[in-house]
């Protein structure tokens, strides 16, 4: 089963949460909102690229805006494989947690 780092898993979840709006800067903003900690745009870009290489997410260049000087964004979406993987991870985690005495 595929191993994912902490940051990778977090970012992957964010992509899934953000549906159609997941691109570098937006994900970094969301990360800060959700976790309270800042993350550099470059770190996010790097992780997203890695996740794409692993086949967990897909990307497309879309949505150019005036603010970006007409430049498009690279929008990321989950692949089927990505969805399955994240579900497996969740299940695996729950299995482990379940083996511990009940934590209130």
């Amino acid at each position: 089963m595929l191993q994912l780092g902490n940051l990778e898993e977090t970012i992957l979840l964010l992509v899934m949460i953000m549906k159609d709006q997941a691109y570098g800067y937006a994900v970094s903003k969301e990360y800060q909102k959700q976790n309270g900690k800042e993350i550099s745009i470059s770190a996010v870009h790097t992780v997203l690229s890695r996740l794409e290489k692993k086949g967990l997410i897909n990307s497309e260049m879309r949505g150019s805006t005036e603010e970006r000087g007409g430049r498009r964004k690279r929008i990321f979406k989950m692949t089927d494989y990505g969805i399955r993987t994240i579900q497996e991870l969740k299940a695996h985690r729950i299995r482990l947690w379940d083996q511990l005495p009940q934590l209130g």
Binding site: S42, A43, M61, E67, G69, R71, R72, K73, R74
Partner: protein, 888 residues
């Protein structure tokens, strides 16, 4: 303060960021900037922007080589477009290709010639340690070392100098030989086969140090081995062609070949081996090597092999020391300046010695070839560049579209380089084919034997591949750089390269081609003029119908003369003095009563009989005296008279009756006199005994009533039945000679062969120049017609504004006219300098006339003007509506 992201950092990002990622990264950073600026102020936003850019400086974001994505489909597209364009501009493509092919072939020819000339004698093993010993006597350098007693030297004594040389352990091998090709030896000999059949052989190498010969010089053995080949006292080594000549074409199958023999002058010589034919890049040529105890000559060519640890200066010292041991008298002889050594591979090109075995190459001519080769290369590239640039003008839209679709500057450049390289490489095999065809003609003109080494020698193959690369890259660079630098919008607007002002590269190139046309054209013209001058100049004697033969001595001469006098077709008979020689050794002389300071050493001494002058049509009143009591008459020529008269401070006419002293240093032991004394009987007009490359030098001619000795018999024959008369002479010759076959020489031929070298180089220069000119004209015409075509619209507009056809033609021609004048002005001094240099070889030369340069310039203008006018006349005559219709 600016409320946009900091410019420098934006540019920095663009610089290091990979193109694929740039859009998303810079977009994100810009968006973040504006967000932060809104929320927390511009300063903050700018600070964060800079930090973000720095943070993106990691391997993930750096510019990468995007190889896989571009290779295959893009190359295929380039290929397709390249081919389409070749077809679209058919005539210009053909013109371009023709120019390239011709240019490349010429460059290959130059290369082959240079390669050949520079590589003489390299095939001998360790050729750098093989040297020839040469002698400086009086003021001239001789390749021949004389034997102690010249012809009369005993066999053992002939080896005297070699023995002295070998005493030094650092001199490993020594050998001496002479050849029928040398002026020191008889030119032909009879060789008899076993069956008694006598064949004439004129390519013999005589040596008396056979086994050492193969240690010094290396030959490829086909039968036998170098160690044993000439170990017998009387032995012969044949070349393959000689073996066929004497033993049939199946000599290789003859197992007993090495036990057979041939005989020369009634002595049997054992066959010691067979070697491959001597290659043509050897300075010594022969068909057989004859090892005999006594070399039949008065001198020899001495060669040695030294050990590598001996320096050249040590060798030089040793060679001279050995000579002094061998000839102690030489130390006191003022005329013996000393010996020099010449390294084997440099003999062919550098040697300035007399009595060379083969006409040496002239290193100046190699320069000529090199320069012409470079000129042709430059012309080829220039043409290609010019024409290609012109053609690209029509492809601006295509490039604009490519840029819009995402082509980078580097893509555009590589596309055009690809095209020029492609065409250059397509022309390569055709050029090699043309080379194969023209090589035999070239060989015939140059009397040389070049093989197409471009396809066999790895060095030359590398060059052959490099050449189209160089041509393609240099020609493609300029147009591709010019076009790729333009923005897409400019290209769509169709801004034609309207170099109205300034001296663009194109103008310079066109001007350069004009320069070449005028320069090469005039140089070629003058070379031709000089050669015709040489051929037609009156030399001061009759040439027509004059022949000479070898004759074995004065007595046989008399007998033959008596026998042949009555032949009506033989008009005159004489002895000695056949003109048409390369300069041979000169003598010292002075007037007896002149001071010792007045010794000169540039005199030539001839011994002839009255008949010789009659053959040559030279007359002098003193010759009448010969038939009376005088047995000989001593004449000097005008040049000599000037020199001698000055030394006594009298007038030339007063020299008659005075006593003249030849070789005043020579001590005549018998009667104690110095030198040989003659009384001057008359002064004769100068005539060119030697070549027209030299001024006439002082000549001293001894005319004898009956020659005391002679080796040369002259005839003036009637032109009727010319060859039948020669047959009659030959029959008479055979009655008196048994060992040497007759050798007939025609004076006209002999004179012509003196300038063989100059004529060869001249015809080649003319040929190659013509080619460069043709290439230039081709290029110019093609370029001009294309430029004119692109100006169709301009012409149309001018017509609309009321210009007449005549005015339009003038306008278009004006630019070229100016260039032509400039070029002529530049070309004239250059060409004049070049031709003056070449003419210095000749003491008798033409004076290049200035009008030729003007004529060449005018011709240039005429050619181009015609091309321009023809094209633009068509365009000028067109209905402006037609020409303006096309949105070019």
């Amino acid at each position: 303060m600016n409320n946009t992201p900091p410019k420098f950092w934006q540019r920095l990002l663009k610089w290091f960021c990979d193109v694929e990622l740039y859009e998303e990264i810079s977009g994100d950073l810009d968006e973040a900037f504006y967000d932060r600026a809104r929320d927390q102020g511009v300063r903050y936003a700018q600070r964060k922007y800079k930090r973000d850019v720095l943070k993106f400086f990691k391997p993930y974001a750096w510019k990468k080589l995007h190889l896989e994505r571009q290779q295959s489909p893009l190359l295929r597209n380039y290929f397709k477009i390249a081919l389409r364009n070749i077809v679209k501009y058919k005539q210009y493509s053909v013109l371009n290709a023709a120019g390239l092919i011709l240019g490349m072939t010429c460059i290959f020819l130059s290369l082959l010639y240079l390669n050949h000339e520079l590589g003489y004698d390299q095939f001998h093993s360790d050729a750098d340690n093989v040297y020839r010993v040469q002698r400086t006597y009086r003021s001239q350098n001789y390749a021949v070392m004389p034997f102690k007693d010249y012809w009369g030297t005993a066999a053992e004594d002939q080896l005297g100098y070699l023995i002295e040389l070998k005493k030094n352990p650092q001199i490993k091998n020594v050998t001496q030989f002479t050849s029928t090709n040398s002026p020191t030896s008889v030119p032909q000999h009879y060789i008899q086969k076993v069956n008694g059949e006598r064949l004439v052989e004129n390519n013999i190498l005589w040596t008396n140090s056979g086994s050492e010969f193969f240690q010094v010089l290396d030959w490829t053995f086909l039968k036998g081995s170098p160690k044993s080949a000439l170990s017998e006292k009387y032995s012969i080594v044949l070349t393959a062609s000689a073996a066929s000549k004497y033993f049939g074409s199946d000599w290789a199958d003859d197992a007993n070949l090495l036990s057979r023999y041939l005989s020369i002058d009634s002595t049997n010589y054992q066959i010691g081996g067979v070697i491959a034919n001597v290659p043509d890049y050897s300075h010594v040529d022969f068909d057989l090597i004859v090892n005999t105890p006594k070399i039949p000559s008065w001198g020899n060519y001495t060669y040695l092999r030294k050990s590598p640890d001996m320096s050249e200066s040590e060798l030089l010292a040793e060679v001279n020391n050995a000579y002094l041991r061998f000839r102690p008298g030489a130390a006191d002889n003022e005329l013996e300046i000393g010996l020099t050594v010449e390294r084997l591979p440099s003999i062919y090109l550098k040697s300035n010695a007399l009595y060379e075995l083969k006409t040496p190459g002239d290193i100046r001519y190699l320069w000529v070839f090199g320069i012409i080769g470079v000129i042709i290369l430059v012309v080829t590239i220039t043409n290609y560049l010019n024409l290609t640039t012109a053609l690209y003008v029509g492809r601006q839209k295509e490039i604009g579209v490519r840029k819009v679709l995402g082509a980078l500057k580097s893509n555009t450049i590589s596309q055009f380089l690809f095209e020029t390289l492609l065409i250059a490489f397509l022309c390569l095999p055709l050029s090699l084919l043309l080379l194969q065809f023209t090589l035999p003609f070239f060989n015939a003109i140059m009397d040389i034997n070049l093989e197409n080494k471009v396809i066999s020698d790895p060095n030359l193959i590398a060059f052959a591949v490099l050449l189209p690369i160089v041509i393609g890259l240099t020609s493609g660079m300029y147009p591709s750089l010019v076009l790729s630098a333009k923005k897409a919008l400019e290209l769509f607007k169709g801004k034609l390269s309207n170099t109205r002002s300034g001296f663009g590269l194109r103008r310079t190139l066109v001007g350069f081609q004009f320069l070449l046309l005028v320069g090469l054209g005039t140089t070629t013209f003058f070379i031709n003029q000089q050669l015709r001058f040489i051929q037609n100049k009156d030399l001061g004697y009759t040439q027509k119908g004059v022949i000479s033969i070898n004759v074995g001595g004065a007595q046989i001469y008399s007998k033959m003369k008596n026998a042949l006098e009555n032949n009506p077709k033989i008009l005159q008979i004489g002895s000695g003095g056949m003109p048409g020689n390369e300069m041979f050794n000169t003598l010292t002389y002075k007037m007896l009563n002149a001071s010792a300071q007045d010794i000169n050493d540039n005199g030539t001494h001839l011994v002839v009989d009255a008949g010789s002058f009659e053959v040559l049509g030279i007359d002098h009143p003193t010759l009448r005296d010969l038939s009376k009591d005088k047995s000989s008459v001593f004449l000097i020529n005008e040049t000599a008279a000037e020199v001698l008269a000055t030394s006594l401070q009298i007038k030339p006419e007063q020299l008659i009756g005075e006593v003249f002293q030849m070789e005043p240093e020579y001590n005549n032991e018998e009667d104690g006199t110095m030198g040989i004394h003659y009384t001057i009987d008359g002064i004769i007009a100068d005539y060119n005994y030697f070549t027209l490359k030299e001024e006439v030098n002082p000549m001293f001619i001894e005319v004898q009533a009956k020659p005391l000795w002679t080796y040369e018999m002259l005839f003036k024959l009637s032109t009727d039945d010319f060859f039948a008369t020669i047959d009659a002479i030959e029959k008479e010759y055979d009655k008196w000679h048994s060992e040497e076959p007759i050798q007939v020489e025609f004076l006209e031929q002999r004179l012509a062969s003196l300038y063989k070298n100059e004529r060869q180089i001249a015809s080649l220069t003319v040929g190659l120049s013509t080619l460069a000119i043709v290439l230039s004209v081709l290029g110019l015409v093609g370029l001009v017609s294309f430029i004119t075509k692109t100006k169709e619209r301009e012409i149309g507009i001018r017509k609309v504004f009321g210009a007449r056809t005549r005015q339009i033609l003038l306008l278009l021609n004006r630019e070229f006219f100016i260039l032509a004048i400039l070029a002529t002005l530049l070309a004239t001094p250059l060409s004049y300098w070049a031709i003056s240099n070449w003419l210095e070889v000749f003491a008798y030369r033409i004076t290049p006339g200035y009008f030729v340069y003007i004529a060449a310039g005018l011709l240039c203008v005429l050619v181009v003007g015609t091309a321009v006018s023809l094209q633009s006349y068509h365009a000028a005559g067109k209905n402006p509506a037609e020409s303006l219709k096309n949105e070019q």
